[in-house]
């Protein structure tokens, strides 16, 4: 069992200017080091607020958050400790245009390490490596304004990687991208999680992204209402639909065929595994028949 990297205990939060309506109720979750966790929920379910708490952008009303053993809700945290938490837990946001600072790609990637006071030579190395990891080396001297949305998000990821994080939170980072850009970014996220054993927390309402995760936590009305593997979560189609979420078409079809009497295993989430299972079910019946 891998060690816990992030742990929340009884986390509650409400926006002050609202009518005191809580945004988050009593969130208790353990996120393991190297895990790929997806937080799934519809708009307004509290999932983005949760992310902002983990990164100290917001402060909870009650409850504790531990990042790598440090209680980040402790008001006595020093400036250095806060910086260290932000280094460990990087965040990639939704709008690709609103998170790039510099007018040249590599200067932007260098922004984080520069703020951390990393020596110049080492920044250079980190920037080159980060750009290579996201496959954007050839754009190092370009202006971000001429890049596609997917490319901009990859630059934003490189900017976080250059800070040598241990966890990256993706706060709906693919929501504004076209399918091609979304694919680019998802592929990068998946690779980072596998290659670098980086802890990944992806916040989304997109089912096709959620199936890539090791584990899905579904949020609704400020609570975590389901927590399990993608196969477990997507077998509960009706509950998801009732929450305004959906399931991938392949899972939807498999669930319907199963109800109609076809012998299909659980956890058919993509077209390939579903097609394999359906074909073998039909062929099995053929063999029985003949």
């Amino acid at each position: 069992m891998a060690e816990t990297f992030i742990r929340t205990e009884g986390l509650c939060f409400s926006y002050k200017d609202d009518e005191g309506r809580p945004i988050l109720h009593n969130i208790n979750i353990d996120i393991k080091r190297g895990e790929f966790l997806c937080i799934l929920g519809r708009n307004g379910s509290g999932k983005s607020t949760f992310a902002k708490l983990l990164n100290m952008i917001l402060t909870p009303d009650a409850g504790k958050i531990y990042v790598d053993g440090v209680d980040i809700t402790d008001p006595g945290l020093t400036e250095e400790q806060i910086m260290e938490v932000r280094r460990k837990v990087g965040m990639v946001f939704q709008n690709p245009d609103n998170q790039l600072v510099a007018t040249i790609v590599e200067e932007d990637v260098a922004f984080g390490p520069e703020n951390m006071g990393v020596p110049s030579d080492e920044i250079r190395e980190r920037v080159d490596r980060a750009l290579e990891t996201v496959g954007m080396t050839e754009y190092a001297r370009h202006s971000p304004s001429r890049l596609s949305g997917g490319q901009k998000q990859r630059i934003a990821i490189a900017g976080i990687l250059a800070m040598m994080p241990e966890c990256i939170i993706f706060d709906e980072s693919t929501a504004m991208l076209d399918p091609h850009g979304r694919h680019e970014v998802m592929e990068t996220i998946d690779r980072l999680n596998e290659m670098r054993s980086l802890t990944v927390i992806a916040i989304t309402h997109n089912m096709d992204e959620a199936i890539l995760a090791d584990r899905i936590a579904v949020m609704d009305g400020g609570r975590i209402v389901m927590d399990g593997s993608p196969a477990e979560i997507f077998s509960r189609e009706e509950e998801l639909t009732a929450m305004g979420l959906g399931v991938p078409q392949a899972a939807m079809l498999a669930n319907r065929l199963r109800r109609a009497g076809m012998d299909l295993p659980e956890g058919l989430l993509d077209e390939r595994s579903a097609a394999d299972a359906i074909a073998s079910a039909i062929n099995a019946r053929k063999r029985q028949g003949t």
């Binding site: 519809r42 979420l245 078409q249 939807m252 079809l253 076809m262 097609a275 359906i278 053929k286």
Partner: protein, 288 residues
């Protein structure tokens, strides 16, 4: 003659500069009336340019855009009134809200049309109701609404002009699955009630497949095909050549056919797929 037609339309950006780029190349199509038409294509295929030519925001470099048989760019003065008949909702339209109240913002278009106050008020109400918002929002500031509500107000702002053709560029972008379905359903209801034509640009093949009667496919500025979902998705291999993915069920059925299971080629909804696969499954039993 169709209400809205494109006749050999081309559009070139930055003509005569080093950045010259042909965005739309010689497209001719006559749009079906009282239908929902999906426009699909890879990013950079010219979709946005094409729809902006339909209401005269862009003037074709060559070719004609015909509305009721008349070239819309013939007389520049008529363009403003054309835009009331061919309404265009941009991507993320909530970013164009500006008035103090929802009522005034939705009424901006009708006011520009020079309609009397009572007529404006009636249209605003109708439009807001079509988008599923409660009439109590009318006196609120659009800036204090939630993201999904803002989107609805912005769409209502164009619906209130009661256009004959309504064009929407990614109306559901960034919304969650239920939000997407609701907005698309509301647009569909509005179309039926008004006998209008809806043209919708989308990246989601699943949604295009579920909601559209006709599909226009653009590839690098050229018209690949204008046809029914069955015709378009029946050749899903061609789509993937253009970097477009057919709906997941279509791809799933293609895989099943490769495995030797006899299924029709033109399946594009979960319902169709379910029916066909169940028939194939039961059919095996029946043969035996």
């Amino acid at each position: 003659m169709s209400k809205l037609e494109l006749e050999n339309v081309s559009f070139v950006y930055g003509k005569g500069t080093p950045f010259e780029k042909a965005a739309v190349k010689n497209v001719s199509v006559s749009f079906d009336e009282q239908a929902t038409i999906g426009v699909i294509g890879h990013t950079g295929s010219g979709k946005s340019t094409l729809v902006q030519m339909l209401n005269g925001l862009y003037k074709p470099t060559s070719g004609r855009v015909l509305f009721n048989g008349k070239d819309i760019n013939e007389n520049k003065k008529d363009l403003r009134s054309l835009r009331f008949k061919v309404g265009l909702v941009f991507q993320y339209p909530e970013y164009q809200l500006f008035e103090e109240t929802v009522e005034k913002d939705v009424g901006y278009g009708p006011k520009n049309m020079g309609l009397p106050a009572e007529e404006i008020a009636a249209r605003v109400r109708r439009a807001v109701e079509f988008t599923g918002l409660d009439l109590s929002v009318l006196q609120k500031s659009p800036f204090e609404l939630s993201g999904g509500q803002k989107r609805r107000v912005a769409i209502a702002g164009v619906l209130a002009m009661e256009p004959e053709v309504l064009i929407l560029d990614e109306p559901a972008a960034g919304l969650d699955p239920a939000g997407r379905e609701t907005i698309l359903g509301e647009i569909e209801n509005w179309r039926r009630a008004n006998g209008a034509t809806v043209i919708v640009v989308s990246h989601s093949m699943e949604e295009i497949a579920n909601h559209c009667d006709r599909i226009l496919v653009l590839n690098k500025g050229e018209l690949y095909k204008y046809g029914t979902p069955k015709e378009i998705f029946g050749e899903s291999e061609r789509l993937s050549e253009f970097g477009l993915e057919a709906p997941q069920v279509t791809r799933l059925c293609n895989l099943l056919r490769e495995k030797g299971i006899a299924l029709p080629r033109d399946i594009y909804t979960v319902d169709d797929a379910f029916g066909a696969i169940e028939a194939a499954f039961k059919g095996v039993g029946a043969d035996a």
